[in-house]
């Protein structure tokens, strides 16, 4: 598994557009969207938390768009199967590296934007955690969608997973609102942590099974 992680890390580091584009898009949305509502920023503090969830949704979709497609098209997955290597480990490694190199920096960026939007510093840690767990769920769901629609175009995968994405947007949007109203969301964070640990291997396994079927 460590070898797979190291391979995926090397690939991601040298493929600058893969990690830079989502970060830039996130920054653009976080800057441009509030400006489109209110140039002087009077109303944006009320909407700030909701904008985070939508920004994370878009950037994570973009981040995962071709994560499987490249290895599928260039025959890397075929090589995995012929050498009796675990497709599941490869997919899980891709997801873990994405979480470390994309979800983590984006969560830190969230705190940066929160600090310039007059969000109470007391909630920074909760905000960091909630955006981090929200991204783990998005990445898992989009990975699954990417595997489903790998040879049919990315949009099909997105449409198929939309019914799963909507509840995540609603639940995390609501929890952001609670956080903004200074309500405690500790139990929700614990639940999110548990779900993240559970679904990351589960969705990686399901995605690897789907990939194998596509390769056949």
């Amino acid at each position: 598994m460590i070898k797979y992680l190291s391979q995926e890390q090397t690939k991601l580091i040298y493929k600058s557009r893969a990690w830079l584009t989502p970060l830039i898009l996130f920054a653009l949305i976080m800057i441009a969207f509030p400006l489109s509502i209110d140039l002087f920023g009077k109303q944006t503090s009320d909407l700030f938390m909701i904008i985070i969830v939508i920004s994370l949704l878009l950037t994570n979709y973009l981040a995962i768009d071709d994560i499987l497609l490249e290895d599928y098209e260039d025959g890397s997955f075929e090589q995995f199967l012929t050498q009796n290597k675990s497709l599941f480990s490869s997919v899980l490694a891709k997801l873990i590296i994405l979480i470390i190199y994309k979800a983590l920096p984006l969560s830190l960026l969230t705190i940066l934007f929160a600090s310039v939007n007059n969000v109470d510093p007391f909630v920074f840690l909760d905000l960091f955690l909630i955006s981090f767990f929200c991204q783990i769920l998005f990445l898992n769901i989009f990975l699954f969608g990417s595997a489903l629609g790998i040879n049919k175009g990315g949009l099909l995968g997105l449409i198929v997973v939309m019914p799963i994405v909507f509840p995540v947007i609603i639940i995390f949007g609501q929890s952001m609102t609670l956080l903004q109203n200074n309500s405690s969301i500790d139990s929700f964070l614990l639940l999110s942590l548990g779900i993240s640990f559970l679904i990351t291997p589960m969705f990686s396994y399901l995605s690897s099974l789907i990939l194998k079927m596509h390769l056949e």
Binding site: K11, Y14, E73, E78, Q79, L215, E216
Partner: protein, 190 residues
């Protein structure tokens, strides 16, 4: 000597088109098996069945337990955004990397090691990927799908000599090639 791979009465149909009808053969150590057929006759499908990527419609393929196979298909899985050296480091051990560098020197590609893979010509990409497959130690079977397409005559001859050396050392080869091969091989027509 027992077979490394045993193909037993394999049939394969796709979209109600019977591509492969009852192919049987065995592959032993030091043996080369040349699969021949016209375009669309199912050569690549047969290789994928042998590799276990695709299930046959009927029949079975038996592979020796823990068989070490290297597959060179139509696709080149090296990443265009990495250099040739970085790509080699991803797939080879340290010993194999040293061998690969010697190999690339023979092919006049050692100066290209620090170039992005996407900046190499198709022939250079193919040569370097083929070389990376040939240096992998303990390989028992090489499965090669049209490996000489895009290579010039001298490089084709060079690779055939290297393949023959591996066969002499105990490996076996299953190959499809429209380009004539000089290695002694048993022919399977499909």
């Amino acid at each position: 000597m027992s077979n490394l791979i045993e193909v037993d009465n394999v049939h394969y149909s796709i979209n109600e088109n019977n591509l492969i009808r009852g192919i049987s053969f065995g592959l032993k150590e030091n043996e080369i098996c040349h699969i021949q057929g016209v375009n669309g006759s199912g050569k690549t499908s047969l290789l994928k069945i042998i590799l276990g990527i695709v299930e046959p419609t009927k029949g079975e393929v038996h592979r020796k337990e823990n068989l070490k196979i290297q597959f060179h298909g139509h696709k080149l899985p090296f990443k265009g955004f990495l250099t040739l050296l970085q790509n080699l480091k991803l797939v080879l051990s340290e010993d194999e990397l040293i061998d690969a560098q010697k190999f690339l020197e023979e092919l006049d590609l050692h100066e290209k090691l620090n170039l992005r893979f996407s900046n190499l010509s198709f022939g250079q990409q193919k040569k370097s990927f083929f070389a990376s497959k040939l240096v992998i130690k303990n390989t028992q079977v090489f499965v090669l799908d049209e490996p000489f397409v895009g290579l010039d005559d001298s490089t084709t001859k060079f690779f055939q000599e290297k393949l023959q050396e591996r066969v002499n050392d105990g490996a076996a080869i299953i190959i499809t090639s429209h380009i004539p091969i000089s290695m002694p091989a048993k022919t399977i027509n499909i």
